[in-house]
Symmetry: C2
Subunit: 277 residues, 2 copies
């Protein structure tokens, strides 16, 4: 494996047109040894089968996306969310990944109480923690861009994610530093330093910020180098903060999904070397 690529991890949603066997084969061919996986395709393929496929290909699973959605105020909704997250932790353990990415969830219907929703996330983390610890899986809180605050994630900044994570031991609860969500925030550098000092950078993900945003804004992420993100600066910051783990490329973009997967992966690798190494 090319040494420059040793830390690169391909999140499977970047090339969602690939099946899991295509993903494994494509990564091996391209010299990529790490992948980030998503629950739905893993479940559809079979968790144990997926784990065996990755192991046989010599691929390390750097993270499982995603748990979370922990803001339901009613006991039944809350219980369902906790059950779902326990299942996600089981799947993460089966895949031998140490990191479950958590997207906190948005505001419940009709609610305007971001503060209350974040407190419910904290309560849920406390409940999930022993189960996660038994499985050796870390809970990685991912702040999403503030444009997702109402419908997807009430944790919008790295500072908020750390405020939550720091209530728990660092080896159990940390944060995801994703350039797409944090690039605009002038407090990100100080908060990355804070996260690193506490040993709480549990994942580092790359995608570029491009405009115009598409309707619904979820699938508007850019290929590295196409947008406004200074990847080298982010990488320098997480490394100065002590992070030496995987660097996962996670791009949701319908144009990339319409292309040949191997071609997209070759482009991802080229852009990674050009912009993030």
């Amino acid at each position: 494996m090319n040494d420059q690529l040793s830390r690169l991890s391909l999140n499977q949603e970047t090339i969602r047109q690939w099946s899991l066997p295509e993903l494994a084969e494509g990564c091996v061919k391209a010299g990529i040894g790490k992948v980030g996986l998503w629950r739905a395709p893993v479940q559809a393929y079979g968790v144990e089968r997926a784990a065996a496929l990755m192991a046989d290909a010599g691929l390390t699973v750097t993270s499982l996306c995603r748990g979370g959605f922990l803001t339901a105020p009613d006991p039944a909704g809350r219980a369902r969310a906790l059950d779902g997250n326990r299942a996600a932790l089981d799947e993460a353990a089966a895949l031998s990944t140490d990191t479950l990415v958590l997207v906190s969830g948005g505001l419940p219907p009709g609610s305007r109480d971001l503060y209350g929703a974040r407190e419910r996330v904290a309560d849920a983390l406390a409940e999930l923690l022993p189960y996660a610890a038994e499985r050796g899986v870390r809970l990685a809180i991912e702040p999403l861009h503030p444009m997702f605050a109402s419908d997807r994630c009430v944790v919008s900044t790295l500072a908020q994610a750390l405020d939550l994570a720091e209530r728990f031991p660092a080896e159990r609860v940390g944060v995801v530093v994703d350039t797409y969500h944090l690039w605009w925030d002038d407090r990100a550098p100080e908060q990355i330093a804070r996260a690193g000092a506490g040993g709480r950078v549990h994942a580092f993900q790359l995608a570029d910020w491009i405009t115009p945003l598409p309707a619904g804004v979820l699938l508007g992420r850019g290929q590295l180098g196409d947008g406004s993100v200074d990847f080298r600066s982010f990488r320098r910051q997480v490394e100065s903060a002590g992070y030496g783990g995987p660097i996962e490329v996670e791009i949701f973009n319908e144009e990339l999904w319409a292309r040949d997967g191997a071609e997209v992966l070759a482009e991802v690798i080229g852009r990674y070397v050009q912009h993030a190494c």
Copy 2:
């Protein structure tokens, strides 16, 4: 005029289907004494004519939208931007409004330097300040939601806006508190207090946050009460911080624009009373 409505100002873009005479007539009929205007429709109608129309109708112009777009790095682009802002200040003075709303502008093509762009905004403010002071017009920096950081406004938080404004006298450079742009930010309360303590809340605007966002995200604002914003809390905050000025409703929403203007204004008034009084 209903006392509850005495501070309500209708920003004309909320009912952009109305011509300026329709706006004046519609506001008078509805008992609204304040309007926020935009440069393009005012220019199209004629600045002096528009000023006379508002004065004859007894309407106060609470703000002119908008100046700004001050991030160009090249001397020619910068000179054009400054000229445009001087013209906007002339227009504001002609309309007898004391407040020009400034949207700072996005990243120049190919740039990834948010910090540098913000410094160019500060330089431009310094250049515009004497011209604004001569005309008795305040420069009100509006932080826009971080989803606009690359293409429209490199000032994304009230803290950043105040960092810029506080380099200048408070009676000359202040900030706009717009619920749509700030609702997600857990630092907004402390920053509103900071702005108020410094006498820098120069405008207070209301729109609700609704999803899904439309393509391009600009026209996705919600009618008051349809979304996630706690207007009463925001109003309490700005008033606790000492603000007693106009409360301007500024909603960009194509569904509102497709309806009868008088009906929309009646709805705005009802929602304002219900959610912000």
